[in-house]
Symmetry: C2
Subunit: 229 residues, 2 copies
């Protein structure tokens, strides 16, 4: 999709840091640019804000183009506006991160990209502009947020095991939790609904499945409860 120049705010862009969880590894979605500047290099997906869309909408539009997903957890992180962050002219970019249920399907490189791929956050390629810095800042932000709001669930399928949940937090935070203590703590919060279902097709004792109960969370939150891991 192309846009007419007069519909675009040329000095404001949004960039997306799209996180997914793949086998206990935190990954981020990057595109390979097929336009100048830095044609052929890896970058965060993003684009210019349109005159008639909110900032949030702009970020969602990029995400939708890239993944086909629309009902996704997304949040603004920070705005990067150093004078020379973009070559030749002044562009200020607003960074948003998204937490999605990892998939290899539906990925479309979009008009400005020749390739799209998931990268382990511990094995990133070189990135264009200040995108490395943006990514690091966002990771710090995510690590702080994930410990005080129950957003990690957005990275998991609706039904998950406690071990998967623990693995998620270990991947995001880069730490190790004691299994018994982790389970006690998370179950005591009463945010997880134990299901009458277990894993299937695993070569060991099948784990019970749980789902996160958002309504319960909001009720508890209104009463002063705070999620804290």
């Amino acid at each position: 999709m192309d846009y007419r120049p007069e519909d675009i705010l040329p000095s404001i862009s949004t960039d997306n840091i799209i996180f997914g969880l793949d086998n206990r590894k935190l990954k981020v979605l990057l595109i390979r640019r097929n336009i100048e500047p830095f044609l052929g290099n890896w970058a965060l997906p993003g684009g210019f804000v349109l005159y008639n869309e909110d900032l949030d909408m702009s970020a969602r539009r990029t995400l939708q183009n890239m993944t086909g997903m629309s009902n996704v957890y997304m949040e603004q992180v920070y705005t990067f506006g150093a004078v020379n962050r973009f070559p030749d002219r002044r562009v200020v970019t607003v960074a948003y991160y998204a937490l999605i249920n990892y998939t290899l399907d539906n990925l479309k490189a979009g008009p400005d990209a020749s390739d799209i791929n998931w990268f382990d956050i511990l094995e990133l390629p070189d990135l264009v502009f200040d995108h490395q810095h943006i990514l690091e800042t966002t990771l710090e932000f995510l690590r702080a947020k994930v410990r005080t709001e129950p957003i990690g669930f957005e990275l998991l399928p609706q039904k998950f095991t406690l071990t998967e949940l623990q693995g998620l937090y270990e991947a995001v935070l880069g730490t190790v939790f004691d299994t018994r203590n982790f389970r006690k703590k998370i179950l005591k919060m009463n945010l997880l609904m134990p299901l009458d279902e277990t894993q299937v097709g695993v070569a060991h004792r099948a784990a019970r499945l749980y789902s996160f109960n958002k309504e319960t969370y909001h009720k508890l939150k209104d009463k002063g409860f705070t999620f804290e891991l």
Copy 2:
């Protein structure tokens, strides 16, 4: 000071939420606009970003113009970019808050303002545009931040009493602390240097003065310590 149109980014502004502490009340600095739109109404101080300055610089420039202060704690909060937040054309604004040592001196209304004043955050006038919303968002941000980073000290003079410190947290967070527990907790962190000085000219037992030791904090932080109130 006036700027040439070609030096200005017309779609990007910064707005400042400047906090000060006056007698155990948290106050915010507002200006009365003497330009259209909304001439005569109260607003957050701010202005358009210049082509050759970083976002942070833009916010600092406004603060300096308003208060004459330059070495001030300042931090970006959030960027507000709804399509219709500004009348007639598209302006995205980046909000910064500042914590300053409250003063009535040096306040200058600046070129776009006919008046400047401190307002108790509990008794705010109506504000232009989405400034009410910006202020509320910033207050929430500040309340979260002040509990996990030792930034509250920026609102106090260099030498302060523990009672003043407690009053600061009570004003910002809108809560009451138990004096004994508060003192125990804050002193146990070893971030405060007790001085060989006490208050003078008070009609009661003079309190000991303390100062916050920033270097100690950074050393402890590097070792994994986190400030938590």
